[in-house]
C-alpha cells in the first residue's frame, strides 16, 4: 500500500462565534500512526473532519505529499475513515460493504473479489462475509468498517474514536488489531481518541490538544515523561502538582513547602523562580518518618489497592495531597494515620514554569 505524508498547516476553524481550532500545524511522516488526544470539546474531531473534507477550515491548508487538498471535496480525497458511530450500510453484507468503494471506482470484479477476500482475512472475518451489520457484534462491525476503509487503498486512514462504543475487553483487542493492520499495511493513520491509554499504546506520535490548540506533539514516552505544558502534565497519567521555588538551579534544588528537594529539571531556570513540580506516583518513594531525615513529611490518609501496587495518599502539611505508588507487599509499613516522608530521584520530577 502506498504511504503518504500528511501536512496540516496553520488551520483555524470557528463555528458561529466560537473558535474551535487555533492555528494547528502538524506534520506526519509516511506510514506514521498519529493520535489526536484531548478531552471532549478540544477540537480533535473537527480537525479530523477537516482532514477528511467534511469541514472547511477558515484558514490554513491540508497537504498530502505536498499536494494541497484543502478545497477538494471529501469524495475526491481517497481517504479511508472509520467512524465512532456504526457506519456500515445496513442493506449490505460485510463483503458488500467492503466492496462498496471498489464498485464506485469500477475496479475489475476479479480484483474486487481478491481485495475483499484479503481484507476479510486480515480482519479475521472471513466466516462472516455474508452477514448483515445487524448480525455482527459491535467489534466485528468496526473491523468491517476498517476493512472497508482500507479496501480503497487510501492515502490516509482516519479513525474517529472507533473504539468508544465497545466494551473494555473488545476495545483492547481491537486497538491491538488496528495497530497490527496499520503496521502490516504501512498506511499513514490519524487516530482521534480521548483515551490516553489508547493513544499512548498504539501511536508513533501523539498530538495532545487542549481548547483548540495543539499543546504537545511527540512520542508517547516523551509525552508521558517529558510534558512541556502544564495541561499535558496534568492530563496524561497521574501526577501530583506541587508549587515550588528554585533554590539552587545549578545543583538542581527546589524548595517545596519550605523543604529543599532534588529536581534536576530546574537547571536552566533562574534562582528564586516560581515553578510547578509534577511528580508521578510511581516515582515517589515512601519512608517511615522516624527512619529518614530528608523528604516531604506527611500523614497517610488512605490506601487504594491496585493489585501489585497500592496507591497511598499522603497529606503534606495538610494542604497538599501527594500520591505514591508502592509495592503492595510493603504497604503495611505505612498504615493510615502514620507519619511518612516522601522522596524522589533528582531526575524524576518534571519542572514547568507557572
Amino acid at each position: 500500500m502506498k504511504t503518504s505524508g500528511l501536512h496540516i498547516r496553520g488551520v483555524n476553524k470557528s463555528f458561529a462565534d466560537m473558535e474551535v481550532l487555533h492555528s494547528i500545524s502538524l506534520e506526519s511522516k509516511p506510514g506514521e500512526f498519529i493520535s489526536l488526544l484531548g478531552p471532549s470539546g478540544c477540537g480533535k474531531t473537527t480537525l479530523l473532519r477537516i482532514v477528511a473534507g467534511f469541514e472547511r477550515p477558515d484558514s490554513g491548508s491540508i497537504l498530502i505529499d505536498d499536494r494541497d487538498i484543502t478545497l477538494s471535496p471529501a469524495e475526491h480525497r481517497n481517504m479511508g475513515m472509520v467512524f465512532q458511530a456504526y457506519s456500515l450500510f445496513p442493506h449490505l453484507t460485510a463483503a458488500e460493504n467492503i466492496r462498496f468503494g471498489l464498485r464506485l471506482r469500477r475496479t475489475p470484479k476479479s480484483r474486487q473479489q481478491s481485495i475483499v477476500d484479503d481484507l476479510l482475512a486480515l480482519a479475521g472475518l472471513s466466516a462472516h462475509r455474508d452477514r448483515y451489520p445487524h448480525q455482527l457484534s459491535g467489534g466485528q462491525q468496526q473491523r468491517v468498517a476498517l476493512a472497508r476503509a482500507l479496501a480503497i487503498q487510501p492515502v490516509l486512514l482516519l479513525l474517529d474514536e472507533p473504539l468508544s462504543a465497545l466494551d473494555a475487553k473488545v476495545r483492547v483487542q481491537l486497538r491491538e488489531e488496528i495497530k497490527r493492520i496499520q503496521r502490516e499495511t504501512g498506511i499513514t493513520t490519524l487516530f482521534v481518541t480521548h483515551d490516553q491509554e489508547e493513544a499512548l499504546s498504539i501511536s508513533d506520535r501523539v498530538a495532545v490538544m487542549h481548547d483548540g490548540r495543539l499543546v504537545q506533539f511527540d512520542t508517547p514516552a516523551k509525552i508521558y515523561h517529558r510534558p512541556t505544558d502544564s495541561f499535558v502534565a496534568g492530563f496524561i497519567g497521574t501526577s501530583t502538582r506541587l508549587e515550588g521555588r528554585v533554590s539552587d538551579a545549578h545543583n538542581g534544588r527546589v524548595d517545596i513547602l519550605g523543604i529543599s528537594m532534588p529536581a534536576a529539571g530546574v537547571q536552566g531556570h533562574s534562582d528564586r523562580a516560581r515553578v510547578n513540580v509534577y511528580v508521578r506516583p510511581e516515582a515517589i518513594e515512601l519512608h517511615r518518618a522516624d527512619t529518614v531525615a530528608h523528604g516531604l513529611e506527611g500523614r497517610v490518609l488512605e490506601h487504594t489497592f491496585l493489585g501489585a501496587t497500592t496507591r497511598v495518599q499522603v497529606a503534606v502539611h495538610d494542604c497538599v495531597t501527594l500520591l505514591a505508588d508502592i509495592q503492595s507487599a510493603t504497604a503495611h509499613r505505612f498504615p493510615v494515620g502514620s507519619q511518612v516522608r516522601a522522596a524522589w530521584a533528582p531526575e524524576a520530577p518534571r519542572i514547568l514554569t507557572t
Binding site: A52, A74, E75, P133, G138
Partner: protein
C-alpha cells in the same frame, strides 16, 4: 379459572363486536352489489361497470394522476427531508407546520385558493394535471411524516459521510447508500399517496374533472348496485395499498448496526 375465562372472553367479545361493526356493512354492500332485482343475484353490476367506458377512463385517469403525484412528491420531498435531517434541523418545525396545513384548511378552501393562485399553461391549469398540484399538497402530511420517520431511524449523517468518504458524490450516495435503506418508507409513502388520490372527491368534483371518485359518486346517483360494486372496488384498492405498506414495512425494515 373464572378470571382466566374473563381474560379471554372480554377481549374476544370486543374483537367480535368490532369485526361485526366493520364487516356487516361490507358484507351487506357486497351482497347488494350482486343483487339483480327480486331474488336474483349475479355479477351483472360488475359486468356493466367493466363495459362502461366512463369507468375505465376515470380509473385510468385516477391511476395516472396518482402515479404522477407519487413521483413528483417523492422527487420534491426526499431531498428536502434528507437535507433537513442533515443540515437544516432548525427548519423541521416549519416543515412540520406546513405538513399539517392540509389537515387544517378545508378541502373546498384549498381548491378556491389553488384556482386563484395558480395560473399557467393550458396543459396544466386547463387539464386534470392541475389536480396533481392539489394531490401533492393533500398527501403532504402522510408523505412528509413517512419520510421523516424513516430517515430519522437511520444515522443519515454518518452513512452519508461514510459513502462520501468512499468516493460517492451526492447522487450516488443517495441512490446507493440512503435510498436502499428507505425502501419500506418509500413504499409506504407511495401507497398512502396512491390511496389518497384514488379516493379524493372534492377537488376533482369542484374542478369538474371526471376522476374515479367522481365517477363513483355519479354512479351512486344512477345505479345503486353498481355504486355498491364500485365502493367495494375502491375499498379493495385502499386495502391493497395498506397491505402493501404493512408487508413492505415488515420485510424491509432497516436493522441498524449495534452490538448484538
Amino acid at each position: 379459572m373464572k378470571t382466566r375465562l374473563l381474560r379471554i372472553a372480554v377481549p374476544g367479545l370486543l374483537l367480535g363486536l368490532c369485526s361485526l361493526y366493520f364487516l356487516v356493512p361490507l358484507i351487506a354492500t357486497g351482497v347488494f352489489s350482486l343483487w339483480d332485482g327480486a331474488d336474483r343475484y349475479n355479477l351483472s353490476a360488475y359486468t356493466q361497470l367493466f363495459h362502461d367506458p366512463g369507468f375505465r377512463d376515470s380509473l385510468l385517469l385516477s391511476v395516472r394522476l396518482a402515479v404522477l403525484s407519487v413521483v413528483i412528491s417523492l422527487i420534491l420531498l426526499v431531498p428536502t427531508v434528507y437535507w433537513i435531517q442533515l443540515r437544516g434541523k432548525r427548519l423541521r418545525p416549519v416543515m412540520e407546520f406546513i405538513a399539517v396545513l392540509p389537515f387544517v384548511v378545508p378541502a373546498i378552501a384549498l381548491v378556491e385558493g389553488l384556482t386563484s393562485l395558480y395560473t399557467g399553461p393550458e396543459w396544466l391549469v386547463g387539464s386534470p394535471n392541475f389536480l396533481i398540484v392539489a394531490y401533492i399538497i393533500l398527501a403532504l402530511p402522510y408523505t412528509y411524516n413517512a419520510l421523516d420517520v424513516g430517515m430519522r431511524s437511520l444515522d443519515i449523517r454518518t452513512l452519508s459521510e461514510a459513502a462520501q468518504n468512499l468516493g460517492a458524490n451526492w447522487p450516488t450516495l443517495m441512490m446507493r447508500a440512503i435510498l436502499p435503506n428507505l425502501i419500506g418508507t418509500l413504499v409506504g409513502a407511495t401507497l398512502l399517496t396512491f390511496a389518497i388520490v384514488m379516493g379524493e372527491f372534492t377537488f376533482a368534483n369542484v374542478l369538474l374533472f371526471n376522476t374515479f371518485a367522481v365517477y363513483i359518486n355519479y354512479i351512486g346517483q344512477t345505479s345503486g348496485t353498481q355504486a355498491a360494486a364500485l365502493s367495494l372496488l375502491s375499498f379493495t384498492i385502499t386495502w391493497l395499498a395498506m397491505l402493501g405498506i404493512l408487508l413492505t414495512g415488515h420485510r424491509s425494515q432497516v436493522q441498524l448496526g449495534g452490538a448484538r
